[in-house]
């Protein structure tokens, strides 16, 4: 469709005129401005909702909201065209078959072996070995090898030595969705463990000997303690209500030596609504401080984040300080349980704060343990009531921790943002389907590529320059400050206002420090080389008896500079009185508008698009903006756009 306008959210006066394309996998807007021809690409999988607004004199507005929080406002001149685009997008954004998803057509031009290697990057067996298992207390069980016991669990699980097959099967019959207690994390220093399950089918008075034995087995696997905590992450009221449906929670009277604890994290529906409300606040035009703070509080979002964090802290304390094992569950054991177990693991074990370790953590507690990616993130069109930002919340917990402990994580904010992006993008196969069983049935590993390999290949972009593995902050358990700590939870504008460049600090400290670090390293290497040369020279000079002083020019003058300030930022609209001002919003991609802090040549490890596209100066890439015609490929977007394969629905 031609003559479409793309409006800027902050300044509706500023609009770009261009052409809108729909392909099998993307919506693409190409600006008419001939020098830049800036492109905005949006994956259909990312589209959360499309809103057709009332036709005005200027045309027919269409609002596209994305799961990665990008909001695209288009104005299409003809109502007919607008309607066609709307209908098409509705269909495209709601695939019915897996084969429609991008990951099956995405082609990063790797050969079969490279694809396989990519999938092998994260190996959970290795991970459990790293923890120290199998050992005297824990063993691997293949009882679920054909998914016969629990179809949402993986084929390989770790259980206490004293848990026999009979106990496991019996316990699984007494647990919602058959999700019996299994090991999530083992602390070899004190034998305390974190196990996870779903709720017991206890109703008001039902008992199950095998389930009780299972919990005893977990306790016995930790000789250092004579009881275990059972943590129900639901609010007490919800858990009690479940009893009427024949489910519920563990009765301390029936299970010997347990201490039961409710933590009170709300369910997926509350979270979905909470995010919705927060996004509405983000969409407010020129909100006052009051509007914003009230809106944010009203959404309850930060309160929920804190609740998840508090649960993780409780469990980490139990394991690290008390040396007591914990069994965690919620209702089905695949949402809040996953969040809380992974937060606790992050706090406990510095390995998970490395890049590789984090990938392993996600693979373990989310992918292998059957978090329902398809239902939660809408890979395919499904029940809207299943949609919930569960992983988004976990990722935000990690970010909140990064803000409190800036030296403790090997990876940076961009790493988290890209992972979140790909939970919804369906560009890679990791976050598809609802269980390991479904993924194997679809032969995901043979037909798609692994996100982890992709991120790993580009890991230089994701490093935290302040991380040092020998730093005090990175070692041992992280202990976030408890009360007072409300103020420690900040609104993550890097995620929820990700595409509004004007809101972010204009200069990326992370990128600058990474470049400094790299340059220092290169200089040190050069120094070594020169030192050797000098030594050799001196040796030969002793022979020659001549003193030659050769000035060695540095082969590359890496004049690292933060002051390539030939480009300035622009003021936002501070006033409506000064209409004569060229009040452009800072978030549009004007060439003049960025404050590049590094000269182009020095950006060895950063996104190539930083040079091509001026709105990349905040360090948070606009993943949807890049040129296919060789302008460089953003780390997480495909380069092989196979334009010959794409079906152009030029409406």
């Amino acid at each position: 469709v031609e003559n479409v306008r793309l409006l800027d959210r902050l300044s509706s006066r500023k609009a770009a005129l261009g052409t809108l394309y729909l392909t099998a996998t993307h919506v693409i807007f190409v600006e008419n401005v001939s020098e830049t021809r800036k492109e905005t690409w949006v994956l259909h999988s990312q589209i959360s909702s499309i809103e057709k607004q009332a036709t005005t004199a200027t045309g027919c507005p269409l609002l596209i909201r994305c799961k990665n929080f990008q909001v695209i406002q288009l104005v299409i001149p003809q109502e007919r065209d607008c309607h066609d685009v709307y209908i098409s997008l509705i269909r495209l954004a709601r695939p019915v078959k897996y084969e429609e998803l991008y990951c099956f057509s995405f082609n990063p031009k790797l050969d079969k072996e490279e694809r396989e290697q990519g999938w092998k990057l994260v190996d959970l067996n290795e991970e459990y070995n790293r923890m120290g298992i199998p050992n005297n207390y824990w063993q691997i069980s293949d009882i679920n090898r054909d998914y016969g016991v629990c179809d949402s669990y993986p084929t390989e699980l770790y259980v206490p030595k004293s848990a026999t097959a009979h106990i496991i099967v019996g316990s699984s019959k007494f647990r919602s969705r058959r999700r019996f207690p299994a090991l999530s994390y083992y602390c070899k220093d004190n034998n305390a463990s974190i196990c996870r399950s779903s709720q017991p089918l206890s109703g008001f008075s039902a008992r199950c000997l095998e389930d009780e034995q299972m919990l005893q087995a977990i306790r016995k696997a930790n000789p250092g303690s004579d009881f275990i905590y059972v943590v129900d992450t639901r609010p007490k009221l919800n858990a009690m209500a479940n009893r009427a449906a024949g489910k519920g929670y563990e009765n301390e009277d029936n299970y010997s030596n347990i201490k039961f604890q409710f933590i009170g994290i709300e369910n997926i529906h509350v979270m979905r609504s909470s995010l919705q409300k927060m996004l509405e606040v983000c969409e407010l035009k020129s909100p006052s401080m009051s509007d914003f703070l009230w809106g944010l509080e009203n959404s309850g979002w930060l309160k929920h984040i804190k609740a998840i964090m508090d649960a993780g802290i409780f469990i980490a304390k139990a394991v690290a300080e008390e040396g007591v094992s914990v069994l965690v569950h919620c209702s089905d054991g695949w949402d809040r349980t996953a969040q809380v177990c992974s937060v606790a693991s992050l706090l406990l074990d510095p390995y998970y704060r490395t890049m590789k370790g984090f990938m392993v953590l996600v693979e373990k507690d989310w992918v292998s343990f059957g978090h329902k990616f398809n239902h939660r993130y809408g890979n395919l069109d499904g029940d809207p009531k299943e949609i919930s930002p569960v992983m988004d919340q976990f990722i935000e917990c990690v970010w909140q921790l990064m803000e409190q402990f800036p030296c403790a994580f090997e990876f940076n904010e961009r790493f988290l943002i890209h992972i979140q992006h790909h939970i919804y993008s369906c560009q890679f196969g990791n976050f598809l389907c609802n269980s390991q069983k479904e993924r194997r049935e679809l032969k995901i590993q043979e037909r798609t590529y692994s996100l982890w390999a992709h991120l790993w290949k580009n890991r230089a972009n994701y490093l935290n320059p302040l991380y040092r593995s020998d730093h005090g902050q990175t070692q041992g358990t992280l202990r976030p400050q408890m009360a007072p700590c409300n103020f420690l939870y900040k609104f993550w504008s890097g995620m929820y206002n990700r595409f509004e460049k004007g809101l972010h600090p204009r200069q990326s400290v992370t990128d600058y420090l990474m470049a400094v670090k790299e340059e220092t390293q290169q200089l040190e290497e050069e120094l070594e080389v020169l030192g050797e040369r000098l030594a050799n020279l001196q040796k030969s000079q002793l022979n020659d008896d001549k003193v030659k002083s050769k000035q060695q020019d540095r082969s590359k003058q890496l004049g690292l500079s933060t002051s390539d300030n030939s480009l300035a930022n622009t003021p936002q609209e501070y006033s409506n009185d000064l209409k004569s001002f060229p009040s452009r919003s800072p978030s549009q991609g004007d060439e003049e508008d960025s404050a590049l802090i590094l000269t182009q040549d020095n950006l060895k490890s950063s996104d190539p698009d930083l040079s091509a596209n001026s709105d990349q100066e905040s360090g948070v890439e606009d993943l949807s903006c890049r040129s296919p015609s060789g302008g460089g490929c953003l780390p997480s977007e495909d380069s092989g756009k196979d334009s010959d394969e794409a079906v152009y629905l030029a409406v």
Binding site: S288, P406, L466, N486, F487, T570, S575
Partner: protein, 334 residues
């Protein structure tokens, strides 16, 4: 950029030739200037009843007046007190924290101050027009705006030396009544009439700028905290008294003339800060001269609560200090 106090128009709409001529000389033929009045139009109008007022268009035809009400005086002090109370309250849970923060209105004041300073800067930089800033007395919100605008506009005000110069010029010599304004701070039960944290508001705004432009200020948070401390209680004479006259000549206290003679009797804060050993503690390791204007975002998401100040004694700064030490190490290593 000019600053003054309000014109004494009074209820009878007095005019003053000399004042009009003075302002007229600032602008060339056909040029336009802006007057930024830090009171609301309503308040400015009401000021006439007590002898004050605004510049009427008819008498000052080349000047266009804009009103940007900024809080000052008792309400600002109350805002500060409420915020400190909220920060120290052990009982607030997450359910109520943000609304409690909002009810203090402090962040709204930060937003308003930054917006107004940006407006002044915009007039000068974008419109290339002269600006006159005044409120009522010209000693509070006026100085907030002019000082902040200079940090935004002028890279030399962002150096350590330049910032000190700015403070001397726009706050100390310009006659901000530090003695009255920075008396007892937030915990005191004595609600002094003249007390108001304008200077703290200024420092908070500068902190916001340093967060948004981490490379553009030569100094760091530590300097701002030190300035805050010394404004209220200091071993140095820099922030003593209310104006230059008092510092030189002395103050009438009761019937005795108190000879302040600040320069003869006290040491200067700047002299101490600028010693090489001290100075390096206040420098920003990321600093790199930025010759351009720095335009902050004043969206609510961009304005954060200054934890380093308001939670200074409540939360450990260990991890953040370690991060800064690491940054220092990386930059120095290079």
């Amino acid at each position: 950029m000019l600053r003054s106090s309000q014109p004494l128009m009074g209820p009878n709409r007095k005019r003053c030739r000399e004042d009009e001529v003075l302002l007229g000389t600032v602008l060339d033929e056909g040029e336009r200037g802006f007057i930024i009045d830090t009171r609301s139009a309503q308040a400015a109008k009401q000021a006439r009843m007590t002898g004050g007022g605004t510049e009427p268009k008819s008498s000052y035809p080349q000047w266009r007046r804009l009103h940007r009400p900024l809080e000052r005086g008792r309400p600002l002090q109350e805002s500060f007190i409420k915020l400190v109370e909220a920060c120290n309250d052990p009982l607030i849970n997450m359910d109520r924290w943000l609304s409690r923060l909002e009810s203090c209105r402090w962040l709204s004041h930060v937003k308003a101050a930054l917006s107004t300073a940006c407006l002044a800067a915009q007039c000068m930089d974008r419109e290339e027009a002269s600006v006159l800033v005044h409120g009522a007395e010209g000693t509070d919100t006026t100085l907030l705006v002019t000082a902040l605008a200079q940090v935004i506009l002028d890279p030399s005000c962002r150096t350590l030396a330049g910032f000190q110069g700015l403070l001397e010029r726009e706050w100390i010599e310009a006659g901000h009544p530090f003695h009255l304004r920075c008396a007892r701070s937030a915990y005191s039960h004595a609600r002094l009439k003249q007390e108001a944290p304008l200077f703290l508001l200024f420092l908070d705004c500068v902190w916001q700028l340093s967060r948004q432009f981490p490379f553009s200020l030569e100094f760091g948070e530590r300097l701002l905290l030190t300035l805050f401390d010394n404004a209220y209680a200091s071993a140095y004479g820099t922030f003593l008294c209310n104006n230059v006259k008092e510092r030189r000549v002395g103050r009438e206290v009761g019937t005795a003339l108190c000879l302040c003679k600040v320069k003869e009797s006290t040491h200067s804060l700047w002299a101490w800060l600028n010693q090489p050993g001290e100075k390096k503690k206040y420098l920003n390791p990321l600093y790199s001269h930025n010759a351009l204007v720095i335009w902050p975002s004043v969206e609510p998401q961009s304005i954060q609560l200054w934890q380093g100040l308001f939670f200074r004694w409540i939360r450990s700064s260990q991890y953040l200090d370690e991060a800064w030490a690491e940054i220092q190490r990386l930059v120095e290593g290079n």
